[in-house]
Amino acid sequence: MEVCNCIEPQWPADELLMKYQYISDFFIAVAYFSIPLELIYFVKKSAVFPYRWVLVQFGAFIVLCGATHLINLWTFTTHSRTVALVMTTAKVLTAVVSCATALMLVHIIPDLLSVKTRELFLKNKAAELDREMGLIRTQEETGRHVRMLTHEIRSTLDRHTILKTTLVELGRTLALEECALWMPTRTGLELQLSYTLRQQHPVEYTVPIQLPVINQVFGTSRAVKISPNSPVARLRPVSGKYLLGEVVAVRVPLLHLSNFQINDWPELSTKRYALMVLMLPSDSARQWHVHELELVEVVADQVAVALSHAAILEESMRARDLLMEQNVALDIARREAETAIRARNDFLAVMNHEMRTPMHAIIALSSLLQETELTPEQRLMVETVLKSSSLLATLMNDVLDLSRLEDGSLQLELGTFNLHTLFREVLNLIKPIAVVKKLPITLNLAPDLPEFVVGDEKRLMQIILNIVGNAVKFSKQGSITVTALVTKSDNRAPPDFFVVPTGSHFYLRVKVKDLGAGINPQDIPKLFTKFAQTQSLATRSSGGSGLGLAISKRFVNLMEGNIWIESDGVGKGCTAIFDVKLGISNESKQSGIPKVPANPQHANFAGLKVLVMDENGVSRMVTKGLLVHLGCEVTTVSSSEECLRVVSHEHKVVFMDVCMPGVENYQIAIRIHEKFTKRHQRPLLVALTGNTDKSTKEKCMSFGLDGVLLKPVSLDNMRNVLSDLLEHRVLYEAM
């Protein structure tokens, strides 16, 4: 026991010390016992604790220590040998366990420490992943922005909208301070500031295209960081901001329409680029990130595509507008032309009529005047008046005809006429003048020239008259020959005219040869033009408007023909030749002449096979007698059944009596029609009836009969009827 320097206590010093030791040991024991309890409690609570047996060991160690201290409590006073034994056991155990624990902790503590470091490591990793995720999210968002931007840009085909939208969206996505687009000018030597984001009315800056910074940007398809002080980036007046935001520029290829090929995109050899400049906000210390640059590049590409689409659309819309304008103009012009033509025709028609009326009056009255008693001077005057008015009348006719010919409103009036007579008439008209001028005229008509033809008689006469008239007019001496023949393809014709004779048509060639003034070969082409005159003034006095040949040429062309003039030179005469197409008339009759009945002697029905069907024996015999007398070979039958049995394609005519009332007789006609399907094999069907009314005729027609005859038939009647029937295959007149 040590001596302490404390104040003299109330108790005896040794007892006090003992008491304090006693209390301390007690508390230590309590603590020692409670710690493992706490440990067990909390470990039980926690889910994971890898070192349980260490805990047990530690628990044991502590318990034993506690026990030791507890047992110590009994050693302060006199204690028995058992207590000392227990105490010793406890101390020994404690020593063992504590040594074991100490040894164990050497292994365990590094492990525990490493757990800690791993924990720290994981925490760092988690933080890093969080950061990265944040980054990815931003990227994804920008990607979304790009898609939306592209969609916006591509959803419109209007160029301005495209560009404006681009700038707006880019500005929004990337939170830009300023975004601008420089477009190349027409000359291609400068870049002009075309669109900006913030400024409403950008001043028309231009920069030359050959700046090094621009070349740098145009040289690569990537977005390039450029200095904020470069001319393209100086978009706003500097307003005292210290730190200008970083600027990026990218090229936007402007595609020409012809270069637009999807597969070559974007390695095209286009030379035109626009420049897009993007500025980050100043004073923000923001930097361009890689993903932002990529976004800018993508957008630039999309903008280029959208712009070319817009350009194509603009082109096609412009072309369409142009076409519409042209159409409208053409329509108006056409309508104007039509109105003009109509007005002219109306005018001509009216004027024609208005002019002809007084003209007729003048001509008629002058002719009348000519008949009266006149002095020679008066006669001369009247003749002049007459001549002039005739000329005027001809002129009017010519003009009206020509204008109608020109716009194709003139049509030929076809009819049948006698060609030979026509020529003779023309000659008769011309003869007086020719006789006065002592020019003999001869007419040669080819022997194979058809007599009756189909064509426009009046116009053909006009043509011949004009040509022959010209020949007479321009000849002072010599003879005039008019030749008309049927032209064959081997005859000489101008090389561009091919003569093709068809079955019912032929080409009439008329040659008018005169030995008069002749024509200079150089003037020949001009002859047929309107109003052109080739004669000298001396011969001009013979009159003529110069329209004659032009009109004749038009008429000849209408008749699908050709007209030309050959001359060997001035003073050597000339030959006018024209071909026209005329139809050959089938009928050997002229209109107006009554029909000539066929000559009885000529009708020949020898061997013509006919069939007579009549129930009445007497009339059967009579009809047979008639036909036999005419030379036919007659078979008679007395019933329709027999008729059907006997009738064959050899019979050319079937006469059937339909006197019996009722429709049964007509059935035979239907049956015969059925039997002979081909028309040329079917015999002609003629009904013999005593009725004269229209209903019988109609009934016969409706049943397919070819003719009706009234009984009793006379010989002449039958003869005529048969010949008519065989010629025309139909007869419904003999009533």
Binding site: C659, M660, K711
Partner: protein, 157 residues
Amino acid sequence: MNTVVVAQLQRQFQEYLVSLYQQGFLDNQFTELRKLQDEGTPDFVAEVVSLFFDDCSKLINSMSRSLGRPESVDFKQVDSGVHQLKGSSSSVGARRVKNVCISFKECCDVQNREGCLRCLQQVDYEYKMLKTKLEDLFNLEQQILQAGGTIPQININ
């Protein structure tokens, strides 16, 4: 050949024929029939005419049978008979017969038995009369031919 006789006979023939026309026994159709007679068919007219008379008698018999019983007269049959008769008579030019047939048809249409009987009687009378006349005509023709002459072509207008 006795030309005088021939000429006389021919004149007789001509007068007789003309009288037949004038009395209305024959009409134009008979002329036509005569035209059809030539060297190839010398008896054409006679054949036709005799056929006609046979036809007549047959038809008249059948019609009189139909009209015989008053209570059951088959007017249809009578009508068809009249029709045939009319056709035949107009084919040969028997004018009077034809005219009777026309009135006969009218009676038949109104189913007048009495009228029909009357007409039938008349038809019978007329055809027999014509038959006699034509027989005389043909006899004259034969006489001419036997006398060596030719039958004159007579134009009746």
